[in-house]
Amino acid sequence: MLDALIAGLLLVLQWKAFSLMLIGMGLGFVIGLLPGIGGAATLALMLPFVFTMTPAEAFAFLLGMHSVAATTGDITSILFGVPGEGLSAATVVDGYPMAKRGEAGRALGAALMSSLLGALIGAAALAVSIPIVRPLVLTFGSPELFMISVMGIACITSLSGLDARAQIKGFAMGLLGLLLCTIGQERQSGGLRFDFGLIYLWEGLDLIPVLVGIFAIPEIIDLAVRGTAIAGASPAGNLRTGVWEGAKDSFRHFWLVMRCSAIGVFVGILPGAGGGVAQWMAYAHAVQSARDATDRARFGKGDVRGVLGPGAANNSKEGGDLIPTIAFGVPGSGAMAILLGAFLIMGLVPGPDMLTKHLAVTYSMVWTLVIANVIAVLLCFALLGHLAKVTQIRGGLIIPFVLLLIFVGSYTANNHIADLIVTLAFGALGYLMVRFGWPRAPLVLGFVLGKLAETYLFISMARYGFSWLTQPLVLVLIVLTVLVIVYPFIQGRRAGFAARAHAD
């Protein structure tokens, strides 16, 4: 195994593979900054170029690009409140308020360092777990995967607040997200739902216009209303110091970063769950790990922990994603499904061969994840001081450029003008939600998980009837879900008792 590990490293360090990795990273850096054009789309665009490459070169190129796109996606989320891609949306919630407070450098430093730590943990998980993960993944059937989805949705509660009214709003928005997912062709029977006679809606609403509209447009409107720079009247401060402060925050909250990285790896391993889910679950965990109600109230207003959790999960899930892809040929996400295409182009068959005959290639992927992330983070740290200065530019100059990114990014979802209308409509909805105190995150999480939940529910019912509810692992997951729901109430009640005791 050690021989394969060293052989894998040498494969990546060969000049051609290394150069291709750097080219891929350059592309990933730019792509990650653009809203809408995610790592998956870029992998698809670049797939035709790998035909002439060796497996190690191809994976260095593709994985280098993909892993860097995941890192830089956080940059626009923090600087402009515009998610670089679907996976970076959770970083907006606390990252953008930090930028508005003049702490863009710190938020970026925290996002990058936690991303690096997450990536290293994901790569380590990939390296050690391939031989042992098979029984774990095979234990999870449709009922368990459905319950995982439900648990993800239950995390909505912790994103909403402590009192009953906040919970009502959180659940309602989560349900709205699930309902919006049912638009379009139903997968099992092929029937059309809520299509209003529009062909555009047959495929359902795409995540990108919904996400970009709901998150980016309210932020842009607020920027226009304030009529100032993103950082407002907050002093620029020493950006370099801010960046290092953010990097140090990753170590101050080291165990939070570790736990959120573990969440990322776990969600990454589950087929179909995707990075968006990992980020939101990590964010929910960060909120739930608050000491008390006062501590919890800091989230959403620029708490660095709200940046660290999603940042770590976003990159650790890359390693997790690769585990089922390499070991069983079951892609963990859309991007991995495309990477599977690269395996076939290279003449490699995912499965036992990747753990025996091609073990060096497998480990070259681990090394690519490590090296690409280390270089990307070092590069970002070198540039961050300049990037953070963007928040000091007047809003009037920034807005047309950000609107350009928003609408071009949304358009690329389906290359359809209706994508722009959907973006605008969800922008209006997002604005009204913010204005009237309805949380946006649960809606997005419901929307991300909806299709998955419906599919797994249908398969569970068709295969087991109602008896799937009595399976042991399902029961464990039900208990965990209930705990996730009631924990904020317990925490709130405990805080109330403590406050009363203190007053007495």
């Binding site: 309210p218 842009i220 009529g227 959403g300 047309p400 609107l403 071009v408 290359n415």
Partner: protein, 159 residues
């Protein structure tokens, strides 16, 4: 009974849930199961929220929504005017894309926004417009080769 934006939002949510339930009721079981499972509790929660809104009961201040807080340091009337104006600009951009396509809409929008909304000088607006267009053309059209369709005006003119 205060009729305000909050009440109307909750009412709209309830109406949406009712529409979903009524629409889904006539579908086959496979198709209606999930919409009903989500729309029925949504209706209940929306009605509870509507009831609370109509009673005018203030929300607990210590209930964070972990979300953006809109700026409050601008007078409401000005904030409302700027909000509508920004929406109008965005709608204009979408309309421009529909009419003339992205390659023309980008410079047209950037220039008019910078000149008339941001009140920048002519040369500065022009320079920034060239930068915006260069960024769009260089990255999206040349490098990524994304397909941007023509606008309806070009189609009508047969260009």
């Amino acid at each position: 009974m205060p009729i305000n934006g909050r009440v109307l939002f909750s009412l709209g949510l309830a109406a949406l849930a009712v529409f979903a339930i009524v629409s889904a009721s006539s579908w086959p079981l496979k198709a209606r199961l999930f919409p009903l499972v989500t729309a029925i509790p949504l209706l209940v929660l929306a009605l509870v929220q509507l009831f609370l809104d109509l009673r005018g009961k203030a929300e607990a201040t210590d209930s964070p929504a972990s979300d953006l807080a809109l700026s409050t340091d601008v007078p409401p009337a000005i904030a409302q005017r700027r909000t509508l104006l920004t929406f109008a600009w965005m709608a204009t951009f979408v309309a421009l894309v529909f009419l003339v396509g992205f390659p023309l809409a980008v410079p047209l929008f950037a220039f008019t926004y910078l000149m008339f909304q941001s009140a920048e000088g002519f040369w500065r607006s022009l320079a920034l417009t060239v930068a915006a267009w260069g960024f769009f053309y260089g990255l999206f059209e040349r490098m990524l080769r994304l397909p941007f369709g023509a606008g309806v005006v070009q189609i009508w003119l047969g260009l």
